[in-house]
């Protein structure tokens, strides 16, 4: 939220208040603020708008995506719940495919599983559901998002790392342990 405010202030400083408001209107932000004000005034409205939408109201990116979604076709949903949209026609070519992340609080590009990556980045026209059939059965590893910055327990530690719970014993010999019984 703070970043949104900061960005807004920065934009005002750079381009003047007039153009900023115009931009906001173009991007649909005024609608957000209106809605927020409405909810604050009438809490009963909250039950009409679902939680997700409410959450996205606080995040400009998500809201923009939501607005973008209007009129677009939902091409598929992956196993994490990310939704993949496509809108041909009045969209700029090369920006006509996008993802709406399942996680609204914390999202990043590494949440896109490999089967959808190709479709999303215009590498292929096959959707993730089609590519999933090509996934090798035996050694295909499950997709994991990048959890850097989320804490030591989430990130990968090599097998000798002291933070790896199954830390490998690198001593080159195993000493004899005296029997514990007397």
């Amino acid at each position: 939220m703070a970043s949104v405010v900061k960005n807004a202030l920065k934009a005002i400083r750079e381009r003047g208040i007039g153009s900023f408001v115009r931009e906001l209107r173009d991007e649909g932000y005024l609608y957000v603020h209106l809605l927020r004000a409405l909810i604050l005034l009438f809490p009963a409205l909250e039950c009409l708008i679902d939680k997700e939408t409410l959450k996205c109201l606080f995040d400009g990116n998500l809201l923009q995506t939501k607005i973008h979604n209007i009129g677009a076709t939902l091409v598929g949903v992956d196993k994490f719940g990310n939704k993949y949209y496509q809108k041909l026609g009045d969209t700029q070519y090369g920006r006509h495919r996008w993802v709406e992340y399942a996680s609204k609080g914390r999202y990043n590009a590494s949440q896109v599983p490999p089967e959808w990556h190709g479709w999303l980045h215009f590498i292929t026209d096959h959707t993730g559901d089609e590519l999933l059939m090509l996934k090798p059965k035996r050694y295909g590893a499950e997709h994991k998002e990048n959890l850097s910055g989320e804490g030591d327990e989430y990130i990968y530690h090599s097998k000798g790392h002291s933070l790896n719970p199954g830390q490998r014993d690198w001593t080159r010999y195993r000493p004899w342990e005296p029997a514990t019984k007397a």
Binding site: R172, Y173, R174, P175, W176, E177, P178, A179, T180, A182
Partner: protein, 719 residues
């Protein structure tokens, strides 16, 4: 064959062929009949000496012409002598002898097809490239993930002689991998059907497990039925395989051969002293390979020698320990541990001090132990496996007198209470070789066993031995008809009560069949452990027969198989060794010592050949070399031994047993028929001979700690 060798061969041959001297060129050509170049001259010359053949006339009146009478050599065809000039082919010799050999290519009026050998012409190069291309057609190009990569004959030859590009675009053949057990890994697609492994298994190892199945592109090596390779020499097929089809399972994907440091040393897991190379990376032993020694192990080693090395990394003693009042071990400093032992050793009577050397002890540590205990006033030092009253007086009484390679001269064997296949696999391979080549007869007395050559099971108890010594047994005639009879006695007999009676019976047999002559000593003892021969050379013989029962201070130097049941419960036991094995459980103080891969030590093998180990890897933890521990203890105990360096210990050894310093030289026992032993008054008991080695794969502290050896005994010893 290494790349260097190939390159030097190629160089040498090209030098010969490009040499301006024409005589060299002639040497390289195999043109055996000069007169063929000039048939008229050959016909014109009169026959000088018609071949002297009573029964057969030369085929189609073939005549022999000797251009130089000195060149005549005599060969035997089906037993008939034939005189032929040097350089004749076998075909020609047979023709002269009147034997018609079916053939098509050879014709006496024509040159021998294509026999102008050129090795560096463009055609030869192209032909080799063609052969390489065919070999690589069905060979996977997986060198980067192949364990043979870097030491592969096919890789080397392909680099040296192969083409630099391939034209092969079709599918490669693939072959299902075979399960040959816990030691040999197979990637059968890499096999080039050279059949070296099949020939090794049937000729040297003596098991008919491997064979060639199918024909043409369906040809593959296999075990006929799904079955493991049950040979104690199976690891050698790994060395023999020129490609990566058979590789070491424990070594798979562990290291690359160019990362390894080779240390030429010897093996101590049995009394043969096989020559090995320990390949190590940093502080770890990665693998063990055989070294060529025609007198001892040829170029083979047993599976135990090759694969026990993972035992060196487990159950290691790395700190001196003292057992506290609560019965638990506590790691202490060397100073404290030595002080405790030195204090206790002064509190007991000298005759209550006993020392036992283990089966892996080197000669240096054994002489140090003996010197130290002698200085403390005790003379009860021995080496396990030698029994309480060994015949240490004459070296011929405990050595393999004919030598391991000398066994090849024998034409009849009598194995008494020994199963060489499990006790000394390399000696067994030598006996098998002899039996295969000369069809020597083998008689065996002992529990039923599986020897991998034809043998006669004469009996199970010493009573059979008595029958033979009294000439009442049918095998006596085999022995007395033999030119070089060889009697091999197992060292398991050392532990028997009626040992002297058995040995006197064996000596009678040896006398009856004239096994002991100035040119042949066929009375052999096959020892079990690496330390035994050196211990007897150094005089590690206990003074009293029941010293264990009265011991108050017992020094176990790596001795794990000595029976401690009769040891008084108040005895103080010091265990010095490298593995937490059977010996430590009774110990009061533990001194950690280094294993044979970590120290320089002298060992004498069963035929009396002294050899040295070299340190391949650093020692673990706070462990020290055995003789240094005893030297330090002697100083703390106030009986300082006079040597500080390994050369000092060796000069002491020179005074006792000078043969131990003549390394890599077999010091045969002096032949002394005049020295006859006093007649034994013992009676031979009817108790059958036992198995000296119950489990081939686990015989000492290191092999018992090895996981691979445990797998082997679980999978391969299943009956």
């Amino acid at each position: 064959m290494g790349l260097g060798l190939l390159a030097s061969r190629a160089l040498r041959s090209s030098r010969i062929l490009t040499s301006p001297n024409p005589r060299n060129t002639i040497l390289r050509q195999i043109v055996s009949t000069p007169e063929l170049q000039n048939p008229e001259a050959a016909q014109a010359q009169p026959e000088s000496s018609p071949p002297d053949l009573p029964h057969r006339a030369p085929v189609a009146g073939a005549r022999v012409h000797f251009s130089n009478p000195e060149d005549a050599i005599e060969v035997f065809v089906d037993g008939y002598p034939v005189k032929i000039p040097k350089g004749f082919t076998v075909l020609q010799a047979c023709e002269v002898a009147g034997v018609d050999i079916p053939r098509f290519c050879y014709h006496s009026r024509l040159s021998i097809a294509g026999m102008k050998i050129k090795t560096d012409t463009p055609i030869a190069k192209k032909a080799r490239e063609g052969v390489m291309e065919f070999l690589l057609m069905n060979h996977p190009l997986d060198c980067p993930i192949c364990d043979q990569g870097g030491e592969c004959d096919l890789q080397d030859q392909s680099m040296a002689f192969g083409s630099d590009r391939g034209r092969f675009t079709e599918m490669k053949r693939s072959v299902v991998d075979k399960n040959l057990g816990p030691l040999v890994k197979t990637v059968m697609t890499r096999c080039i059907q050279c059949t070296r492994c099949v020939r090794f298994a049937s000729e040297v190892a003596g098991v008919q497990d491997l064979g060639m199945l199918g024909r043409g592109s369906g040809e593959e090596i296999g075990t006929y039925v799904e079955k493991l390779m049950t040979s104690e020499l199976s690891g050698n097929v790994i060395d023999i395989c020129p490609v990566g089809a058979l590789t070491s399972k424990p070594f798979a994907f562990k290291a690359r051969n160019w990362e390894l440091k080779g240390t030429e040393t010897i093996d101590v897991t049995d009394a043969v002293g096989s020559n090995i190379r320990i390949d190590s990376r940093g502080p770890e032993v990665m693998r063990i390979l055989p070294r060529l020694n025609e007198d001892i192990n040829e170029e083979w080693i047993s599976d135990k020698t090759r694969f026990f090395y993972d035992g060196l990394k487990r159950q290691r003693l790395n700190d001196p320990m003292i057992r506290g009042a609560d019965g638990r071990f506590k790691a202490v400093s060397w100073r404290d541990a030595l002080a405790v032992v030195a204090e206790v050793i002064h509190q007991v009577k000298p005759e209550e001090i006993v020392g036992v050397a283990g089966k892996l002890s080197d000669a240096e540590s054994m002489i140090a132990l003996k010197d130290f205990l002698n200085r403390m006033g005790s003379n009860n030092v021995w080496c396990e496996g030698n029994g309480m009253h060994p015949n240490a007086d004459l070296r011929s009484g405990y050595l393999l007198n004919s030598g391991i390679s000398g066994l090849e001269k024998a034409d009849a064997f009598l194995l008494v209470g020994t199963q060489p296949r499990v006790e000394a696999a390399m000696v067994n391979a030598r006996i098998r070789k002899t039996v295969r080549v000369t069809e020597a007869k083998v008689g065996y007395i002992g529990p039923p066993t599986d020897l991998n050559y034809d043998h006669q099971h004469l009996g199970t108890s010493p009573l059979t031995l008595k029958e033979i010594s009294e000439n009442r047994h049918p095998f006596c005639s085999t022995l007395s008809n033999a030119k070089n009879p060889s009697i091999i006695v197992g060292a398991g007999i050392f532990e028997r009560e009626d040992k002297d009676a058995i040995f006197s019976a064996i000596e009678t047999i040896a006398k009856n069949c004239k096994a002991i002559r100035p040119d042949w000593n066929g009375l052999n003892v096959l020892l079990l452990n690496a330390a035994q021969a050196a211990a007897l050379d150094l005089g590690l013989v206990p003074e009293s027969k029941n010293c264990i029962e009265s011991a108050k201070f017992l020094y176990l130097m790596g001795a794990d198989d000595v029976s401690l049941e009769k040891l008084p419960s108040d005895a103080f036991v010091v265990y010095q060794g490298h593995h937490g094995d059977r010996g430590v459980y009774r110990a009061n103080v533990i001194f950690p010592a280094s294993a044979f891969t970590e120290k320089e030590g002298t060992y004498e093998n069963t035929e009396g050949c002294a050899q040295q180990t070299l340190p391949a890897v650093p020692t673990v933890g706070d462990a020290r070399e055995d003789w240094k521990i005893i030297r330090a203890l002697s100083e703390v105990a106030g009986a300082r031994l006079p040597y500080d360096t390994v050369s000092g210990v060796r000069s002491r050894m020179r005074a006792v047993a000078p043969n131990l310093l003549r390394v890599d030289e077999r010091e045969a026992a002096t032949f002394s028929p005049s020295l006859s032993k006093p007649e034994s008054r013992q009676e031979i008991s009817s108790e059958p001979f036992g198995n000296a080695v119950e489990n081939f794969y686990m015989t000492d502290a290191i092999t018992r700690a090895s996981k691979i050896m445990a797998q082997c005994s679980a999978m391969l010893l299943k009956k």
